[in-house]
């Protein structure tokens, strides 16, 4: 079981410590950890389970904040990691993002949340909806109010009814004037295009996000027009397994508010919405770069916020890159990012320029990988379609809304 949780800033400062059991963990473990991070570079930073001389450490890094949990005994490591992920999700949800300042500013809430989320090293309440009822998230009204009156209790004085019910994710009996359910398909496309321009792997990782504001105890069913394309699924605890097993129907009592109903994966897709064609030719200590980006097949929807990022190989001394659309930035760590935005109608965006190689090097022998970002509103690239959404115990009026969105996930083009 977890013994202690530390929150570290990106400079290695311990912002917060929460001891969970009687076996106290000295914060010197963080010094050890940070020394090793510095001495071993990023390899330790990306290692989720570390055996230190005295403790086993689980680390999750989110937005520069390191969540570090310690234990001395055998426990499922994924449990520790998953819990830290939940903590970071809940915190970023409460605080509207994660960074050093926002955690320091709200350290009391962080403490209170951690105290409710874990007891004696074992997760207690991790359901965000219940946590919200127990500890009020900071909002601007309560902030101002607290400054004026000095009275700032954000701790609820009653136990959320849901903790006792058999559907712990749902608050007891919410009442709404308008009954609304919004279903969003949010997809991320992962693709790998190899050096020959062949699409090696193309798949979509998608989530069904539901935002429900329904009175009483609603029982929803959601079905897809083409569930057979789903390769694998994972569900929110509220989804009943058996109807899915037999008929591929999602039957559930939704939590109140926003939640992730399911996540799915669709594999072996045949095409990507945009193409990226990098060309690198090196000769006599110079390397000419030319990258073309274009729309492959029109979904009828505009592709937004197209970006292209790549890491210049370490053997490159300087780079001179220009583009006909968008802006090109070369950051300190040799990361080059080209933000295109929307592709104009009249021309094909291209990036060109020359890279200067290290003096004794004639030709480039390692090639960068281009990471592509884009966003398409209104389309689920996997082709998944929602068939219908039904409410079993129908209230008077129900407003249903559906949306779709596709983003680039791990979209990589090798050169």
């Amino acid at each position: 079981m977890l013994q202690c949780i530390f929150l570290l800033s990106d400079s290695g400062e311990v912002m917060l410590e929460k001891q969970l059991t009687g076996h106290r963990v000295d914060r010197s473990i963080c010094d050890w950890f940070w020394d090793h991070v510095i001495s071993q570079g990023d390899s330790l930073k990306s290692q989720p389970v570390i055996a230190s001389p005295t403790h086993y450490l689980f680390q999750v890094v989110r937005e520069g904040i390191t969540f570090l949990a310690c234990t001395q005994v055998e426990m499922p490591p994924l449990m520790g990691i998953e819990f830290l992920c939940r903590v970071s999700d809940v915190l970023s949800d409460y605080l509207g993002g994660l960074n050093e300042d926002v955690i320091k500013d709200n350290f009391v809430i962080v403490y209170e949340l951690l105290d409710e989320m874990i007891d004696n090293g074992f997760p207690l309440t991790t359901e965000p909806n219940i946590l919200r009822e127990m500890i009020a998230p900071p909002n601007i009204v309560s902030k101002v109010l607290s400054v004026v009156t000095g009275n700032s209790s954000n701790v609820s004085d009653t136990l959320p009814g849901a903790t006792g019910s058999c559907i712990p994710w749902r608050a007891a009996d919410p009442k709404y004037a308008n009954n609304e359910v919004y279903v969003d398909l949010v997809e991320e496309m992962d693709a790998v295009i190899n050096r020959d321009g062949v699409l090696v792997k193309c798949e979509v990782y998608g989530e069904v996000r539901v935002n429900s504001h329904l009175s009483g105890l609603p029982d929803l069913t959601l079905s897809f027009a083409n569930p057979s394309i789903l390769d694998d699924v994972r569900f929110h605890p509220c989804v009943r397994f058996r109807p899915w097993e037999s008929h591929q129907i999602l039957s559930f009592v939704p939590p109140d508010g926003e939640f992730k109903l399911m996540s799915y994966r669709v594999k072996k897709l045949k095409s990507t919405p945009i193409y990226v064609k990098p060309q690198l030719s090196s000769d006599a200590g110079k390397c000419r770069v030319n990258v073309l980006v274009g729309i492959r097949n029109d979904h009828g929807k505009t592709i937004d916020s197209i970006t292209l990022q790549f890491q210049l190989p370490p053997c490159i001394l300087s780079a001179d890159l220009t583009s006909n659309t968008g802006t090109v930035n070369i950051l300190g760590n040799k990361t080059c990012s080209w933000s295109i935005g929307r592709i104009p109608k009249d021309k094909t965006p291209s990036l060109s320029g020359t890279l200067v190689l290290e003096s004794e090097l004639e030709r480039l022998h390692v090639f960068p990988t281009f990471r592509v970002g884009f966003k398409i509103m209104g389309v689920a690239l996997s082709g998944l379609q929602i068939d219908k959404l039904d409410l079993k115990t129908a209230p008077s009026r129900l407003y249903k809304g559906f949306r779709a969105l596709t983003r680039a996930g791990e979209f990589e083009v090798r050169s």
Binding site: D119, C166, E410, E412
Partner: protein
């Protein structure tokens, strides 16, 4: 209206500078101590208290010790404001252990809060109170937890379950039972949320008490999908352990390959055929690597440390799973329901739940159903970077064990540039182990891209992976080698610029991969070797050059072309020798020598090259090179000479020998080594240990299959083990009778004994007490059966089942015991009463003087070599140094004609004993050994010299670690070391305890039932005695006396006892010795526990007598052993 306005105005001005931080606690975190905190804490306003507490919390967050505010903070526990309460609780939990006395002040408030109508307040109070961790309040907390476990609020019950591990953590034995009872109650709760928390509590409080699970196994399985996710993780693990412990492993699962690997090939083939459907293509050898799977599953059950350490012993097969330890997954409902209820969890949103469920299927599911876990596992790779690594670590083992499972999904292991190096390396390893003939081409295409990756370490790993693939799929070897060769040509272009270590690494890896591929089938790769040799000039990296040169030497006789090239190559090598790096130089020398040994033509040239190199190398700056050349020159000298003598004249055997040596060292082709050496350690899927690759504290392998017996309530571990131990003890009887017996026998005894101790130790985990003896004490079964004998054979003292017995025995056992007693004791009593009327007490005055302790030989003059004879006998003296020591008289005699000097006996075993203890991973035993610091052998006064025929006597104080195993000692004489074995005699582990007959009978009556053991045996010694004196006119009475004497003498000369009384039948038939009873008393040396022995005689005087021996002793195991020992020496005829 706003009483604290002054303070807030101040904060407002501060806060207004940072508009975005308005209303947050930023200022509190930034400078928590800019206001004096103490007055705020005493304020009557909740908001000021809050601020003070928040400041304290900020200081805690920053790692500053603010425990000095403890008394003031504790007062505020009484506050009605929940926020204040919460903050106080946070503070309190942080410091309670540091300030126990002040923390006690808060207890009353918690007690009060526990009665609060608000469940949140009750829950918080319970959580905090249990978290304070003070031994003093543990009883109070226990009561509170018990009360809250019945609370109407689910949340409070859940918190009660969570509080149990906190209580357990205080390690208070007296509460253990009560805690387990509450766990059982909560496991039976109807709310899934509570069950989940109770499962977690179970896992940390009493993981071995699987009988708690038995009661509601079905219900737990059914409720499993509804339990909240964290509880599911714990519950899945518990259910898996329960099923294995009660039903054993599943025949259709991969664990069954444990059975089928050695024995039946038909099963293997059958499962292969089954499995063929799952696979896309079954071109490769087996669907799963049986040896690997076998090892994995053994590791799961035994734990790798156990497994590896035992495999180094000879008795590798001591761990055998029998057919009964397997159950059929198709017919066993408990197995089916577990698989049925865990399979939807593979869709869980929580990756830890998915992995736990996958683990259950991996271990329990029939082979054809295991594929169900693949997609969920692969989907986990998309969840988060941190969990990706952990999941891959587990997939790696699965994929190695059954490559066919993952083979169709190779694309999922293609690598993204954004992944961390560890993830990339794992994916490469998995790819190379699941590659099939159909997928290899696309995998190679990917690999080619990876080689161009800017991360050169990763590129080098890719090249190593190519080598692995080629070794697994020999068909691809040619393509791989071609690719790698092209790479070496490319890389050395960049090499000309002397570029970086990393590129050198890639080249080295490439050559290494080629080398390992060639090794598999040298003849078909002849051209590759030639190409490599040709490129020698352009390859500059020393390590790579050295490897190519090694290949020249290794394959110098291969094919047709290579031998012809040698001349040129060696000349080239000799020419560039001086400019080479160290490792290359050494390799050149080796190679030339090897060539020389194998050469058939051009020998003169090679010899010249060699002597040239020798000259160069002998003046080399590096001593390694100089040493090497000297060594090689010596080796080669014979070779060179023989060549110089124009063949055939090497009649000198010495030179011939050298030649052979040279041949052996240099000439042989290296033998093929198995590509993958199985040095891995495996832990249960999803465990922390599997990630860090050592057993984390608290790691438990799966329980022994079928170790949970159906009617076993007290002892969670199987009695099969205990039975085994008993079998061992009786096995040692044999050793006892043949005390001069062979070494082999006792050695085998030792081994089996050891393995039993080990296995029982492993099953029980490290915090339970080690000794298997201790366990026997608690186990009722043996004693019951023994007592059954006791009440039948022995007219025992009247017993009225004392109350404390009920606690020690399970109800049923107690019942059966009572039944048996009532059935058989009636005739016993009547018989006894008949006997008692007519018995008389006699005493043997001079028996003590006639006691001759038995002498054993420690060192035989024939074996010692120098004529030293050493005998020993157990002395009745009591060691004055420690009660753990036994006195032994040792007699040294010089049987030779020369003086022997410097004789001494020392304990050789001390180091090795420690090792063995380490191996058994038995922490407790070693700590035990260190706690009472008694040496194994008190150093003996050494004998300076011993003249021929002179004898010397010494008293040794020895500590036997075990009363059955011989103690290894080393005898030094004349500077030589001779190992000797000292056999313990349990008869001397006791000392006489003089007492009256009344006291004896009284004590005996207090040691009934469990503490009483009986055995019967025959006794014949007296017949000889009687026959001897047959000539004289002998009274009947004396016949009895003779029997008594011989019996008493026999016992007293074999055990250190005190004769208490002899009861003799008076009115009985003159020839009938029945009813004769001898009583002996003693106490155990080490523990001073009394040990009472009663011997009753039955039968006619002139015939072999039937003795029944009864031992009453609290120390069960010791008593049993002593009983066996006595029975053995009584049977054994006296010699001389």
């Amino acid at each position: 209206m706003f009483p604290q306005f002054g303070a807030t105005a101040d904060t407002l001005s501060k806060a207004s500078t940072m508009v975005f931080r308005i209303g947050t606690d930023a200022h509190l975190y930034d400078d928590p101590d800019d206001v004096s905190i103490a007055p705020l804490l005493d304020s009557k306003f909740d908001s000021e208290k809050c601020e003070a507490l928040k400041r304290l919390l900020a200081l805690i967050a920053q790692g500053i010790d603010v425990s000095n505010y403890f008394p003031q903070v504790v007062k505020n526990v009484a506050s009605q404001s929940l926020e204040v309460k919460k903050l106080v609780y946070l503070y309190l939990l942080h410091y309670a252990e540091k300030r126990p006395n002040e923390a006690l002040l808060s207890i009353n408030y918690f007690q009060k809060d526990l009665g609060d109508p608000n469940p949140l307040v009750r829950a918080w109070a319970l959580r905090t109170m249990a978290g304070i961790r003070l031994h003093v309040i543990a009883p109070l907390v226990l009561v509170a937890v018990g009360k809250c476990a019945r609370d109407p609020s689910v949340y409070v019950r859940k918190c009660a379950a969570n509080a149990l591990p906190k209580l357990h953590d205080l390690r208070q034995e007296e509460h253990a039972l009560a805690i387990e009872e509450i766990v059982g109650k909560l496991l039976n709760d109807h709310s899934p949320a509570v069950v989940g928390a109770a499962a977690a509590a179970f896992a940390s409080v009493c993981p071995y008490n699987l009988s708690l699970i038995r009661r509601n196994y079905r219900k737990l399985c059914e409720i499993l999908p509804d339990v909240e996710e964290w509880g599911q993780i714990a519950l899945i693990g518990i259910l898996l352990r329960y099923v294995i412990a009660s039903h054993g492993l599943v025949k259709e699962s991969i664990m069954f390959s444990l059975q089928c690997t050695e024995s039946s090939h038909s099963v293997k083939d059958g499962s292969d055929a089954d499995f063929g459907q799952v696979k896309e293509s079954t071109d490769m050898g087996g669907t799963c690597d049986y040896e690997f799977v076998n090892m994995v599953s053994r590791c799961y059950i035994e734990g790798p440390d156990e497994y590896l350490s035992r495999s180094s012993y000879a008795n590798r097969e001591s761990f055998q799973l029998t057919d009964e330890q397997f159950t059929s997954g198709k017919s066993n409902d408990d197995v089916k329901i577990l698989l049925y209820s865990t399979s939807p969890l593979l869709w869980s949103n929580n990756s830890a739940v998915v992995l736990a469920a996958a683990g259950v299927h991996w271990v329990m599911a029939p082979k054809e159903d295991v594929k169900r876990i693949i997609k969920p596992l692969l989907f986990l790779l998309r969840s988060s970077n941190a969990s990706k690594y952990v999941v891959l670590c587990n997939i790696q083992v699965f994929a190695k064990a059954m490559p066919s499972l993952f083979a169709p999904y190779y694309e999922d292991f293609f690598i993204c540039s954004s992944e961390s190096y560890q993830v990339k390396a794992l994916k490469l390893e998995i790819l190379s182990s699941i590659a099939t003939d159909s997928s290899i081409s696309s995998i190679f295409k990917e690999f080619q891209d990876y080689i161009r990756d800017p991360d050169r370490r990763f590129a080098a790993d890719t090249i190593a992976a190519i080598g692995l693939c080629a070794q697994r799929l020999p068909k691809m070897a040619h393509i791989c080698v071609d690719g790698l060769l092209a790479l070496t040509r490319e890389e050395f272009v960049t090499k000309d610029f002397g570029f970086g270590d990393q590129e050198a690494g890639i080249l080295t890896h490439a050559i290494l991969s080629i080398k390992s591929i060639i090794k598999q089938d040298p003849p078909s790769h002849e051209k590759v070797i030639i190409q490599l040799v040709r490129s020698l000039d352009s390859i500059k990296v020393p390590a790579a050059r050295a490897m190519i040169i090694w290949m020249v030497g290794e394959y110098s006789t291969l094919g047709e072309i290579i031998p012809r090239m040698l001349n040129t190559v060696l000349k080239y090598l000799a020419w560039c020798f001086t400019s080479e790096a160290l490792e290359t130089k050494l390799q050149i020398l080796n190679t030339v020598c090897k060539v020389l040994v194998g050469a058939t033509e051009d020998v003169w040239t090679f010899k010249k090259i060699f002597s040239y190199l020798v000259e160069l190398a002998e003046c080399d700056l590096n001593y390694d090179v100089r040493d090497r050349v000297r060594f090689l020159k010596k080796l080669q000298s014979s070779n060179l000479v023989s060549i110089g003598q124009e063949e055939g004249t090497n009649d000198l055997p010495e030179k011939d020998l050298l030649h052979v040596v040279a041949e052996c060292i240099l000439g042989r082709q290296t033998r093929k080594v198995k590509a993958e050496s199985f040095s891995y350690r495996f832990y249960l899927p999803g465990s922390l240990s599997q990630i860090v690759l050592h057993a984390a504290p608290g790691y438990e392998p799966l329980p022994k299959p079928c170790s949970l017996l159906l009617d076993d309530r007290n002892v969670p571990e199987g009695t099969s083990e205990i039975k085994k131990t008993v079998a061992d003890y009786s096995g040692t009887d044999d050793y006892g009778t043949s005390s001069e017996g062979s070494d082999d026998e006792s050695a085998s005894d030792y081994d089996s004994q050891h393995s039993v101790a080990e296995s029982s130790g492993s099953g029980r985990g490290d915090d339970s007490e080690f000794t298997s003896e201790g366990n026997d004490n608690a186990d009722p079964l043996i004693q019951i059966s023994d007592f059954g004998n006791a009440s039948e054979n022995q007219n025992g003292v009247s017993q009225s089942g004392p109350a404390n017995l009920g606690e020690l025995m399970s109800d049923r056992a107690l019942e059966s015991w009572l039944d048996e007693q009532s059935g058989s004791s009636n005739p016993g009593i009547s018989e006894q009463s008949q006997v008692r009327i007519s018995s008389a007490r006699i005493s043997l005055g001079d028996v003590g003087k006639r006691v001759k302790p038995k002498c054993y030989s420690l060192l035989d003059p024939a074996t010692s070599g120098n004529g030293l004879k050493v005998d020993y006998s157990f002395s009745s003296e009591i060691s004055s140094m420690s009660h753990l020591l036994v006195c032994i008289e040792v007699f040294f005699k010089n049987c030779s004609s020369e003086t022997i000097s410097e004789i001494t006996l020392v304990d050789e075993d001390s180091n090795r004993a420690l090792d063995a203890a380490d191996k058994a991973a038995d922490v407790n035993q070693s700590s035990l050994a260190s706690s009472d610091n008694v040496p194994t052998l008190v150093p003996m006064e050494s004998i300076a010299s011993l003249e021929p025929d002179q004898t010397a006597r010494r008293i040794l104080h020895v500590r036997f670690h075990h009363h059955l195993l011989p103690l290894k000692l080393a005898l030094y004489c004349d500077g030589k070391k001779l190992p000797v074995k000292l056999r313990p005699d349990i008869g001397y582990f006791v000392k006489p305890l003089p007492m009256d007959v009344e006291v004896f009978i009284d004590r005996e009556s207090r040691l009934p039932g469990m503490f009483e053991y009986t055995r019967s045996c025959a006794f014949t010694d007296h017949i000889e005695e009687l026959n001897k004196e047959n000539g004289d006119s002998l009274f009947v009475k004396d016949k009895f006396l003779a029997i008594c004497e011989s019996l008493a003498l026999k016992i007293l000369s074999n055990a250190n006892l005190c004769l208490v009384s002899i009861d003799m039948p008076v009115a009985a038939n003159l020839d009938d010795a029945s009813g004769l009873r001898l009583r002996f008393s003693s106490e155990i040396l080490s523990s001073s526990i009394p040990c009472l022995i009663t011997i009753t005689v039955e039968g006619k005087c002139s015939d072999p007598l039937n003795l029944s021996i009864k031992v009453n002793c609290e120390e069960t195991v010791f008593g049993l052993n002593l009983l066996n020992r006595i029975a053995n020496f009584l049977v054994e005829p006296t010699l001389g």
